[in-house]
């Protein structure tokens, strides 16, 4: 048994305290009553781990470290304070990338140190360094592409080109071959740099074909990977607190990934490799079920819509990504308040994958002070639509498409939906009749009891608010 000095023992024990605080923090983050405290527990854990590391006698470079920490803290604090709630998916996306980048840099830096020391680099050390570079690099560029898509810098639609999957596979095989070569010849710097480049390239190529509506899955998966990257860095440095914390984040990201996949009735491989929206199957299916209804659309004026809402007994509001884009959550809250003052029962139906990240709609409605007890999950609200007078769909499309339930030839068939078509009336606020992300026509638009309000969600809801006021 290796004997540790008193100081080292103290550091290891502090790491144990930090890891325990992370576990407790995550546990408390899982329940609304304790979530805020949970976050503080985790933050304290992080502080303990950092302080413990600083007393390590091999850490001497205090001035530069302090500069780094101050720069990082200032940027982090300003970003966290100023980011709009609608931009949360981008923010989490880019933060995943930063974590991945830090871990990749650790892997690269440690490999260089071993290389410069001229010592024998073991099989284990090379293998772990390669893993760290792979996961970290992939997380970095994958997150940057996800960020660019969410921010609108890159097109949100899937980017496809010929031989896409074979090309990715070829690079992946190349990476594996290069790794094996490096393990045998660890001194080969060009091969190592090639592996770094290949990891960064693969991150871009993996995420670029994935479209906007699949982003909840991608963000969750990248979240998981950023944890695994930290774990890999922990293996490299033989540091348990990194391994444990990374594993916890990896597990939590994976759970969210599973939940998101389930909510879309898709497997992870189909999200990653079977981009929606460009395929012939999607285009064909719109016509397949088209024979059942004549394609007439009932367009509505705000005044009429306000009357339907104001004289209803119960209204269910279904928010989607369109609400986030238009920043319409505050107007919606105002509309709900007006309706409630007229004695209308107002509830919100939240689809698990509405928006661009898990729980996206909940955060936006919370920002607008919508009471927690008015938000209903899919399973709780679906039986209620039969008794609902008006379902008001704001910027949602695929998650309310009845084809997912009825048309077995539809690409989204089997995805659980919010069954707004069972309500007595459905009002849909939408910019145009264009298809949703999945590129599938929505027969809901053409039903007899459906009415469309065309325009930007924010403008239309504001008009509804002023019209409802006049009903008083």
């Amino acid at each position: 048994m290796i004997t540790l000095t008193g100081l080292d023992t103290g550091i290891e024990l502090s790491y144990l305290v930090a890891a325990s605080l992370f576990i407790l923090g995550l546990k408390k983050l899982g329940s609304p009553a304790t979530a805020r405290r949970g976050n503080i527990y985790a933050a304290v854990g992080m502080l303990v781990a950092v302080v413990a590391t600083l007393v390590n006698q091999e850490v001497l470079n205090y001035q530069m470290i302090l500069v780094g920490v101050v720069i990082g803290s200032v940027i982090g604090a300003i970003t966290a304070r100023s980011v709009a709630m609608t931009a949360m998916p981008q923010m989490v996306g880019i933060f995943n990338g930063l974590g991945g980048a830090a871990s990749a840099l650790i892997a690269v830096g440690e490999f260089f140190r071993l290389l410069n020391a001229g010592a024998f680099i073991s099989f284990d050390a090379t293998l772990i360094a390669v893993l760290g570079v792979f996961i970290g690099g992939l997380t970095l560029t994958g997150s940057l592409v996800a960020f660019a898509k969410l921010q609108g810098i890159l097109p949100g639609m899937p980017v496809k080109y010929p031989l896409q999957q074979p090309l990715n596979l070829a690079i992946l095989v190349g990476f594996v071959v290069g790794s094996v070569y490096l393990i045998v010849h660890p001194q080969s710097l060009p091969v190592f740099l090639g592996l770094v480049g290949a990891s960064l390239l693969l991150g871009v190529l993996f995420v670029i074909p994935i479209g906007g509506a699949d982003m909840p899955v991608v963000i969750s998966l990248l979240n998981s990977l950023s944890g695994l990257a930290a774990s890999a860095a922990g293996f490299i440095l033989v540091n348990n607190v990194l391994i444990v914390s990374g594993a916890l984040v990896g597990a939590s990201g994976l759970i969210l990934t599973q939940i998101m996949c389930k909510a879309m009735n898709r497997s992870l491989p189909s999200v990653l490799f079977g981009a929606f929206g460009g395929g012939g199957g999607a285009a064909a299916s719109g016509g397949g079920s088209g024979a059942d209804y004549d394609k007439t659309v009932r367009s509505l004026e705000a005044e009429e819509g306000a009357m339907m809402l104001g004289y209803a007994k119960s209204v269910v509001i279904v928010p989607g990504y369109g609400m986030a884009v238009a920043q319409a959550q505050h107007s919606i809250r105002e509309l709900a308040d007006q309706l409630e003052s007229l004695g209308v029962e107002v509830r919100y139906a939240i689809h698990p994958v509405a928006g661009r990240m898990p729980g996206h709609m909940n955060v936006l409605l919370a920002e607008a002070n919508v009471p927690y007890n008015q938000l209903y999950d899919m399973d709780d609200i679906n039986p209620e639509f039969d008794r609902t007078d008006v379902a008001l769909v704001v910027g949602a499309n695929d998650v309310v498409n009845p084809a997912a339930r009825d048309a077995s030839d539809s690409p989204i068939y089997g995805m659980p939906i919010l069954e707004v078509d069972r309500a007595k009336h459905t009002i849909i606020i939408k910019r145009s009749l264009s298809t949703g992300f999945a590129g599938i026509d929505n027969e809901l638009f053409y039903k007899n009891n459906t009415a469309m309000l065309f325009g930007s969600a924010k403008d239309i809801v504001a008009q509804l608010v002023s019209e409802v006021k006049q009903l008083d």
Partner: protein, 97 residues
């Protein structure tokens, strides 16, 4: 396989199981805060960055470590603060009900 790697693997697998047990059945409302809180925890890479940038003599490793410190600190500080900001909104609204 060397002993260090093996011990690390044991720790990793057990910690993953704990993660799955602890986080299962989180209500959808908390998905975003859970994710951004977990994201902040993944900034634990800052500890690794501190370790490799420890030596006082300049080297490529130290420079990469310092860059990693900046990136990981943004992740940690920004992640915890934004999670708190979100959860504060959740709280405000519950108090109102």
């Amino acid at each position: 396989m060397a002993g260090g790697l093996l011990t690390g693997l044991v720790v990793f697998v057990l910690a993953s199981f704990i993660g799955f047990e602890v986080i299962n059945k989180v209500p959808p409302t908390l998905h975003t805060p859970l994710m951004s809180g977990a994201n902040a925890i993944s900034g634990i890479a800052v500890v690794g960055a501190l370790l490799i940038s420890g030596p006082q003599n300049w080297s490529l490793t130290v420079i990469l470590g310092l860059v990693a410190i900046v990136l990981a600190t943004i992740n940690v500080v920004g992640g915890f603060l934004v999670t708190d900001r979100m959860l504060e909104m959740f709280k405000k609204k519950e108090a109102k009900v």
